[in-house]
């Protein structure tokens, strides 16, 4: 079985007025077919840029992306529509990603029209099918996106992405604009769709608890690089990278009794700017267990205890630092 997505040495740099931003700075990523792959990290770690580069919304400065065994840029150039039928994207802000002048019905029909799928009647049937898939009532068809609730909007944008029956779905923070109880609805929808349609889903998220809940694999990013990756439950149970440990520790428990007694790791300061990442390990400026070598040489990803890989000098297959 080929992997759904393979990125090698991916770099995305932007030239801004304040200098060169290394948003993604050398990322290798492999997403297995049928995986539900989470990408987590703080703002500025490059997770959104990575997701956008995977589908080509952002052009890569260096490196390659292969999707379903084909070179992404060649594929998108030679067969734009074929690529669109195979790979779809869900945006963070569902309202912004839909034309404010089109009704839900028109929005859902648009991809079908672009790809000349069936006649008007067949398209209407497909739209009805899509509404069923994301559990929306037919009454929303004639409404404008603005008049829908946040959760309904995200359902519409998911339905639109599924209109062409893609194999790979890349989602950029699809949950962050939603309320807690609605977030759970959408997460469950993703999980159901993934099982029902055999999709490969890559989801960028900052809600770690939800990633652990639904994702099979997870990649933790820090300042444009992969800090750690592995099977979600195993990594969350025993994170090897000090940054992953701190990130997980920062998530409060909803139970105040646990919260009152739990030891917490508080990192000092904010993440450094991706404009001038520190030399050596990028986490060295905030790492509580930093050693001199960390400031000099950048650690490579290597196999660690939980079966995944971490980029830390203090971690290998037998032991890793604990903070």
């Amino acid at each position: 079985m080929t992997d759904a997505i393979v990125a090698k040495g991916l770099k995305v740099h932007f030239q801004t007025a304040a200098g060169l931003v290394r948003a993604v700075d050398g990322v290798d990523l492999t997403v297995a077919q049928g995986a539900f792959h989470g990408i987590v990290g703080e703002s500025g770690c490059g997770k959104t840029t990575l997701a956008r580069a995977l589908i080509g919304l952002q052009s890569a400065t260096e490196g390659q992306v292969q999707i379903l065994g084909r070179d992404r840029s060649d594929w998108a150039r030679s067969d734009r529509k074929g690529f669109a039928r195979a790979v779809q994207f869900i945006f963070q802000d569902p309202l912004g990603s839909m034309s404010r002048r089109q009704t839900v019905g028109q929005t859902l029909e648009e991809p079908l029209q672009i790809h000349s799928v069936g006649d008007a009647k067949a398209r209407r049937a497909r739209v009805a099918e899509l509404l069923d898939l994301v559990a929306l009532p037919a009454t929303v068809l004639d409404r404008l996106p603005r008049s829908l609730s946040g959760g309904q909007r995200q359902r519409v944008s998911i339905a639109r992405a599924l209109a062409l029956s893609p194999q790979v779905l890349i989602c950029d923070e699809p949950l962050s604009a939603l309320d807690v109880s609605v977030r759970a609805q959408i997460v469950n929808l993703f999980a159901r769709l993934q099982a029902q349609l055999g999709l490969t889903i890559v989801i960028v998220a900052h809600d770690l608890a939800i990633v652990r809940e639904v994702c099979s694999a997870v990649t933790v990013m820090y300042l444009g690089r992969v800090a750690e990756e592995g099977v979600a439950k195993a990594l969350f149970a025993d994170p090897a990278h000090p940054y992953s440990q701190a990130l997980l520790s920062a998530v409060p428990s909803p139970d105040p009794r646990i919260e009152a007694t739990r030891p917490r790791i508080l990192l000092a300061g904010d993440p450094p700017s991706p404009r001038n990442p520190p030399p050596g390990c990028r986490f060295s400026t905030r790492c509580p267990v930093v050693e001199p070598r960390c400031r000099e040489t950048e650690p490579a990803l290597r196999a660690v205890q939980h079966g995944g890989a971490a980029a830390c000098h203090l971690a290998d297959a037998n032991i890793h630092a604990m903070i």
Partner: protein, 340 residues
Amino acid sequence: MSRHSQNGPIYEVEGLVIDLYTPTVSVRAVDGAGFYVAPGETLAIVGESGSGKTVMTLGPLGLLPEGVAVDLRGTARADGKDILSMSPTDLSRLRGGFFGVIFQDPMSALNPMLKIGPQLAEQARRFAGLSAEEAKKEAVSLLARSGIPDPEDRYDRYPHELSGGMLQRAMIALALAARPRVLIADEPTTALDATVQAQILALIRQIQKEDGIAVILITHDIGAVSVLADRVAVLYAGQVAEEGSAIDVLTAPVHPYTRGLLASVPDFRSNNATGTKEIPGIPPNQAQLEPGCRFADRCELVQPQCRTHRPPLVKVGAGPVPHRVACPVVMAAEGIVTHD
């Protein structure tokens, strides 16, 4: 480790009704809700967007959304004084000195054209009655206290020169500059990253311990509530569904909405992962004034009387901190008796 205080409430709101009007819609944002907070305790007001949590807390202080007409009824007392009948001047003085507010977006409270330090000093001079010299010293120490490294240097920085986490700290320093007795934090960590969120929550808790002030945390983030709150009020569609100590409400919720809300928040530290539960449906349209329980349409336990009679908030349990719930149906089904 109850930090519950025996003092009377310092800020108290009762039977508050707030209607918001724009040319196209009329919304009952707060529908007969109330809360109280005592010195030395942290009250978390929890609700989803549109639940009225911000309007309920800040509305009586005259901090309301712009461009809408407001009709506000009920009682609100700060330190025993009725604030709804105050003149705008008195209210503005109270807002500056008695209440300190931390907003979600620090850029909305800090003047981008002025250096951080002088803004703090001005606030300290006006409301804490310090001389210019003292105010500057106070500003530097406030910055240091808010966990800003190298405060003398940051004193002369403009807001845009600070990172998001540092700005939120400067915002906290600004809220503290007038030495408030009630600190209101409106979604203080929503815009921040996980590791920075943890820092800010720890900072607010530390300040609260040191100064013994009352803190009101307005949030939708159950994690933040669990870290900070002594007491919790859960707001749904402008009405209080449940209130009580954080431990009671978060670990033994009674109201179906509270239960649903908590079930939809996964806890990755617990191993009995049962999957994320969801509350079906969406919050009601608050433009329509319907009788009965606002949660009725999404509730699994709904009974016919839920749609006609508004459930009263009644005391359950006999703990030192009153635990109140507005759902007679659950109480009847589970044999919970009133302690009123």
